[in-house]
């Protein structure tokens, strides 16, 4: 279709914006876009074909297969059946797959809770990752839900690892660190080790959520 009346004839919105002049002066800071709740209807936008699994095929890096099960519970102990967990982790050697799109495992996944507020995350147990100090094996987690206004962020550690020297966990008040540690299940098999972890949004065992500081 020809739009003869438009001075931007034939240009896409991206092309139009590209032609804008750069800001005359570099501004020191801009307001961050406000966060809003994901609402109850995110599934068809973010997990359209079901969860985005971490294990997507057989071509996997080395690592122990694990299954993390649990639930997301509100302040009354009721299951939250419309929460979404977004996971990012290192592989079994502690390496982050940041270089190219990998079809079978790149350390990123999304898991929506079911009618009982429950989730099952099949993955590889992350290794110790290099940082300024070695970081104990952990999963990074975003938790989204209706009624959650922030992008909530935390880490999940494992109770059969050496967590006492982890540089991030050391910054969490000691009496609340337990809320970030998954418990190894006695029903674990040789092939798949099972862990359990609940998110408590409120209450005595309220899960610690984190925010970066300068």
């Amino acid at each position: 279709m020809v739009h003869r009346s438009s001075p931007f004839e034939g240009l896409s919105p991206r092309e139009i914006m590209r032609r804008e002049q750069e800001e005359a002066t570099r501004q020191p800071a801009w307001l961050p876009t406000g966060t809003q709740t994901v609402g109850p209807y995110f599934h068809f936008g973010m997990v359209e074909r079901g969860d985005v699994p971490l294990i997507r095929g057989d071509n996997l890096p080395p690592g122990q297969r694990i299954r993390l099960t649990g639930a997301v519970l509100d302040g009354a102990g009721a299951p939250i059946n419309d929460a979404l967990l977004e996971i990012w982790q290192a592989d079994g050697r502690g390496r982050f797959h940041t270089e190219r799109a990998e079809p079978d495992f790149d350390g990123f996944g999304r898991f929506a809770t079911d009618a009982d507020g429950a989730f099952t995350i099949d993955t590889l147990k992350p290794g110790v990752s290099d940082d300024a100090l070695p970081a104990a094996p952990h999963l990074d987690v975003h938790l989204f839900a209706r009624g959650v206004l922030h992008t909530l962020f935390t880490r999940i550690y494992f109770d059969d690892e050496h967590n006492q020297h982890d540089p991030l966990l050391a910054q969490v008040p000691e009496e609340r660190r337990d809320t970030l540690i998954a418990r190894r299940s006695t029903t674990s098999s040789e092939d798949v080790v099972t862990y359990h972890f609940n998110f408590y949004m409120q209450g005595a065992a309220e899960t610690v959520f984190l925010i970066e500081q300068e």
């Binding site: 279709m1 739009h3 009346s5 896409s12 919105p13 991206r14 139009i16 914006m17 590209r18 501004q27 020191p28 800071a29 801009w30 307001l31 961050p32 876009t33 406000g34 966060t35 809003q36 709740t37 994901v38 109850p40 209807y41 995110f42 068809f44 936008g45 973010m46 359209e48 985005v52 997507r56 509100d74 302040g75 009354a76 419309d82 990012w88 940041t98 799109a101 079809p103 990123f108 970081a135 952990h138 990074d140 989204f144 209706r146 009624g147 206004l149 922030h150 909530l152 962020f153 540089p167 991030l168 910054q171 969490v172 409120q202 959520f209 984190l210 925010i211 970066e212 500081q213 300068e214």
Partner: protein, 239 residues
């Protein structure tokens, strides 16, 4: 009365000391937050490598039509066709290249295709309401869609959400992350919406409203709206 004043310079630049720009965890008028918002404050930490890294997002196999929600079915969806375009930058003004942007929305009648949406407005067989795209190397993105309708929800008597589009943005590190909603200018429902109003800073609320921008119009076909988003710099806090 609109909460957006078009007469003054609409400028997102910070013009005062940094304050809390994000909503509280519990905002009483939004009933669902009462049992779901953590009561303890967020624990401040210095983050590590995990928070600063991210995969090359490939899991969606994004196709050429995934950013045009009006061509995903055999027929044309009902409603007003719009362009939603903008730029993804960090709060230092640096563009965030190749961010993964996902959106989802109700149709022009205010009905989601989601199975849990029981609002008795009609579904549109020619409209799903989900799209995704990557920002380009300069942070620019563009969607073609239908202007969504307002819809009622159960928060309080005769509660209506203002027309909105849900956005998810994944940047260059796992913590360079945004979930938000985009609104439309001159909507009288905004200032009585507990979700929109949960953000305490009026300037931040204003920036959730797209601007009508004639340059993005497709003449005689679609109206253009601009919606820019600003994420925290990778590896530093959002606030």
């Amino acid at each position: 009365m609109s909460s957006l004043d078009f007469d003054r310079d609409f400028d997102p630049r910070l013009n005062g000391p940094v304050e809390t720009h994000q909503p509280p965890q519990v905002f009483d008028p939004y009933v669902s937050t009462r049992l779901r918002g953590p009561r303890n404050g967020l624990i401040p930490i210095h983050s590590g490598l995990t928070e600063r890294t991210a995969p090359v997002y490939g899991f969606h196999n994004i196709g050429g039509e995934d950013n045009d929600l009006t061509v995903q079915h055999e027929g044309t969806p009902l409603g007003q066709k719009i362009i939603v375009a903008g730029r993804i930058r960090d709060t230092h003004g640096q563009p965030i290249p190749h961010a993964l942007i996902e959106l989802w929305q109700a149709n022009s009648a205010g009905r989601y295709i989601h199975k849990r949406d029981q609002h008795p407005a009609p579904l549109d067989p020619n409209f799903t309401g989900a799209g995704r795209t990557f920002a380009d190397a300069h942070g620019y993105y563009s969607f073609t869609t239908i202007r969504p309708g307002a819809y009622p929800w159960g928060n309080h008597y005769n509660a209506w959400r203002p027309a909105h589009i849900h956005f998810s943005v994944l940047g260059q590190g796992f913590r360079q992350r945004l979930i938000t909603q985009m609104y439309f200018p001159d909507d009288p429902l905004l200032e009585i919406d507990p979700i929109y109003m949960a953000n305490p800073d009026r300037r931040v609320r204003d920036l959730l409203i797209a601007r009508y921008d004639r340059r993005f119009d497709i003449p005689d076909n679609a109206l253009g709206f601009r919606f820019d988003m600003f994420l925290g710099p990778n590896g530093t806090p959002l606030e």
